[in-house]
């Protein structure tokens, strides 16, 4: 349509913008509640940007400014520079390897002057754009396996680089882009197989190996029995069942143990097993520590975090203890509570009511994004919108899930609420590009 909109506000989806401001406000309040100490001079420290909430506010201001500029930008810019942006993102990710700063526990941060800079975080933006660009190419026929593989490659290549930076959590986020691919026609079977493998891995962790093997065998026999007539007619069905059985048992007996022993790090395996309330069975003989030592690990490790986080959230009861009366979050019982465990502050301070309101807000945001996505004329915009929805969903579900013991602790932030400049800016940019694209929804972008 008309590319020269006289007013920048034209076509903007105010509901998305409104939710954005609400969420950031909730985040600032939560960070304030988690870090404010009795007697801090609020205004003074706020102006000096010495406290976490003032820093976060500062990033919010920067984010708004960037958002404003995004709204001023021509939507075509995003589709035109998508591939370039992707290359740049990969470049930054590679740059991390020689130049990462010595921050403990991660190799994903570059220090530039006063700023810490985490390419793995904001690379999501470029992936979302590049994937949308690829899927919206007229020559892309997404029903072909080759295109599907290329799309998956675009999404997962940065994930591989991120894993190499010891940021498994951030890497897992890239799996969220399968939602885009599913929307664009990725066969349901693949998702089903994905779920089936996930279920099998969970079963491997929960059920004793031999028992599981027997169950799988029985299951195969049962299926063969049901299909006995068809099998009589066509031998290949039987072969398929046998092959499938071999695959399942193979995953269970060899693949999963191999991954846990050799690919994942000890603490990650520990976290996964903690989630199911089990001890890690893959410790080497020499490491099979004394009971006291393992207790020590437990107390300092993720299960301690989750336990404290559940206590904090659970003690909030229905209405919560009130903003500054939350004993658990105020007195540092929950580690990382400004960042990954910020949800505890909400849960303890505002109880079930507050948690419900926050989650409701997120669900409205996600549904609104899907509605927005479906009204796009341009495939690029739609794909991008689904990418944003997927990323947000993954972050919200896993982050909240890990604070209440439903997901392993993989250290990813809660969108707009967790403390952290890069994360807040990344989510802001993701959302504002969507708002910008939506404002031009009548236009077909290439």
């Amino acid at each position: 349509m008309n590319q020269r909109n006289p007013a920048i506000s034209k076509g903007i989806d105010w509901s998305l913008a409104g939710i954005y401001f609400l969420l950031v406000a909730i985040g600032l309040t939560a960070i304030f509640a988690a870090t404010y100490k009795e007697g801090d001079p609020v205004l003074q420290s706020f102006l000096k940007f010495k406290t976490d909430y003032s820093k976060q506010f500062f990033f919010f201001v920067i984010g708004t400014v960037i958002g404003f500029f995004i709204l001023l930008t021509d939507s075509k810019f995003f589709s035109a520079t998508a591939n370039l942006g992707y290359v740049m993102g990969i470049f930054f990710l590679l740059l991390v390897f020689p130049f990462h700063s010595p921050v403990k526990g991660t190799e994903s941060i570059i220090k530039m002057g006063a700023f810490n800079f985490q390419p793995a975080e904001f690379c999501k933006i470029f992936v979302a754009l590049a994937l949308a660009k690829y899927l919206s190419r007229p020559e892309t026929d997404f029903s072909k396996i080759r295109s599907q593989l290329i799309a998956a490659g675009i999404a997962l290549f940065p994930a591989v680089l991120t894993i190499l930076q010891s940021e498994t959590g951030l890497a897992l986020v890239y799996f969220a882009f399968f939602i885009v691919m599913y929307r664009e026609g990725l066969p349901s079977v693949i998702l089903l197989i994905g779920f089936a493998i996930a279920a099998l891995i969970v079963a491997t962790i929960v059920i004793e190996p031999n028992t599981l093997a027997i169950i799988l065998t029985a299951l195969a026999a049962f299926i063969a029995y049901i299909f006995r007539r068809q099998i009589k007619r066509r031998r290949s069905i039987f072969t398929k069942i046998v092959l499938f059985w071999v695959l399942c048992v193979g995953i269970q007996r060899f693949a999963v143990p191999y991954i846990f022993k050799n690919i994942l790090q000890k603490h990650q395996v520990e976290r996964i097993y903690d989630l199911f309330g089990k001890d890690n069975p893959y410790l080497k003989k020499g490491e099979s520590e004394t009971a006291e030592e393992s207790k020590k690990i437990k107390e300092s490790g993720s299960s301690y975090n989750v336990r404290q986080s559940k206590i904090a959230i659970g003690s909030g009861r229905v209405l919560g203890k009130g903003l500054l009366k939350a004993t658990q979050t105020r007195y540092d019982f929950v580690p990382e509570q400004r960042t990954d465990f910020i949800f505890c502050t909400v849960g303890e301070g505002f109880g079930f009511t507050g948690s419900f309101v926050l989650l409701g807000l997120y669900l409205i945001l996600l549904f609104r994004i899907i509605t927005v996505a479906e009204r796009q004329r341009s495939t690029f915009s739609r794909c991008y919108a689904y990418g944003v929805a997927g990323v947000f969903f993954f972050h919200i579900a896993i982050n909240v899930g890990m604070t209440i013991g439903l997901a392993p602790v993989i250290g990813i932030p809660l969108p707009f609420v967790s403390y952290g400049g890069t994360a807040l800016l990344t989510f802001t940019i993701l959302l504002f590009i969507l708002i910008r694209l939506d404002a031009d929804r009548q236009m077909v972008l290439r």
Binding site: F142, Y182, E184, K310, G314, R317, F352, L359, I370, G405
Partner: protein, 712 residues
Amino acid sequence: MSAFNQSRSRVIRLIFLVAFVIIIAQLFYLQVVSGKFSQLADDNAILRKTVYPPRGLVLDRNKQAILNNTLTFDLMVTPSQAKGIDTAFFCRLMDIDTAEFQRRIITAIIKNKSFRPSVFEASLPPQKYARIQENIWRFQNGFYIQERPIRSYPFNAAANILGYIGEVDSNYLKKHSEDGYQSGDYAGMTGLEASYEKVLMGERGMQVLIKDNFNRIQGPYEGGAMDVEAVAGDNLYSSLDMELQRLGEKMMTNKVGSIVAIDPATGGIIAMVSSPTYNPNYLTGTERRKNFSDLYTDPRLPLLNRAVNASYAPGSTFKTLQALVGLGEGVINTRTTFSCNGAFYGCGSGKPMGCLDPGTYYLTSGITHSCNTYFANVMQRVINNPKYPNVDSSLRAWNNYMYAFGMGHRLGVDVPTEQKGNIPTPEYFNNPKRFGPGKWGFCSFRSVSIGQGEVTATPLQVANEMAYIANKGYYYIPHIVDSIDGGDKFGLLDKYKTKVIPINLADSIFEAVHDGMQGVMESGTGRGSKVPGIVICGKTGTVENYANIKGQLVKQPNHSFFCAFAPRENPRIAIMCVVENSGRYGGTYAAPIVSLMIEKYINDTLSKARLARVDALANTNLIPPLMLQKMKAKDSLQRAREEERALKNELKNIKDTLQSDDNLSEAEVKDRKTKDDRQPKDSPNKKAVKTDMVTPEKQREPVGNKKDTARK
């Protein structure tokens, strides 16, 4: 393509929705359904600190504190914060080795968990306190010094009456589950500390504090709105006269027995001595545990309050009560006479009861000269009184008199462990194991008439009997505490305010007994203990007693008994004294002690000559031979243990220093040690101590012979 996949937007919405529903369901469970997290959160962040109020004091009748509070210092440890300190330096300061350090830390963790403070060492001695106080900053967070009030006994006396406090054990907690004690608290265990625990403990306060993840106190919870103020324990005003108490304890030095003195007008106990006793301050300080076990195993039983917890046959002092019964029943009157030709033959010639001075006696002279025959006749008349159909009912009537006089049941004094004493009943004799129904009569228990045999009484009962006789027919239940500061909130003193008039006897009856008792002091068995200027009524007792040694009753030296009240008109003190196994007569030891006590109390002072008497008594050692034997046995056992410990240390030292001597066996070391012993080293006395320790396999060595010589 997009049109084809439009339906998938609904699937995606569904996936989102399902995930959110699962999360919200879990939140609902955590926050609404399960209540345990609030509790856990409180455990995490809220510290309920008990504020202990100072315990109440005990004051004597002159309003001086006899049980007081002073401060002591405990070294506290929070094991989780105590990591990374200079353990070696710390151990040097504390005079312990690292093994001991570890052991205490582990004990603390077991007792109180690693993040809560526990006592590392209680009641630091002054020097150690100074050393630690100077260096405590080096062990910040992990260790701190906490002051704690402890009890002190300024007079070093009345240990058994005042009692002590001790850490409550699980049994105590179970018994007092509603009184809010926690493990680690102190409570009164004996004496007044135990009987008046409710009053003395005061009301505990509570401070509700908030703490952070490192257990650091962050300040009051909700601005202190939930705090409860502690209320100090109330003071007890006792009727004790500490001067008199100390005089009594002094005279009872190296004697076994007790003295009980009561103010007949109120029932207030003026002095209650149980000997041997101990220094009550031994059970408050650093060495409490060790001292306690020493006292606990001492064969002299210093922790026993003999005044209430020992019962004796009252001997001739019982004759005063027999006289009351006889007169009360009307079987005799003051002019009734009985003659004694050397013994009481009223029961045939089987085993006559001897009497000291043959002659003919009236009641008064019978008491004065403690004539056995007279009172055997009196009781015979009571039991064989034709007024009663059978001995069962006549003995029952006699029983009722005795119960009225405070015998055979607990009086209800306010120090714990009171004994009942015993009064023989028809049921007892009717028991087929004893005699069986109808198979007994007065002669079966004739020795009861002179206070021997089946009758027993506690010193307190005898003293109370004196108060009853002095008052001519009533008494107040003996008690130590007269009043409580701030009022008697628990009604503990009510029963001590009521006059007990158990039975109606005419004043003339008492006058007759008083006459006899006054005679005892003027011309009778207690004449040696007269006090010029004070009319004392007294009665001696010489109590035969037996000890059960390996199943055989062996006669032991007599107990010396004396009970009295004074002055005869408007009596101010009723008192009794028993000196166990002193041999001799009641007039020999107990009577002078009582007379000195009376003189001190009534005249408030003792003349110089009399003071010399006090010292002479204090220096008389009358520890019974049986007890001496046990003490010796215990001493040698203890020495054996000490020696063994010394040997072990020696062994360790030798092993430590002589690294090359790896194969040095224990036997060899012992050998070396005995060689050392044979070198003349210290005084011969010490040598004797060591030879006591000879172990069997060394008996063939000449050391064994030395032992005998050393003993001689």
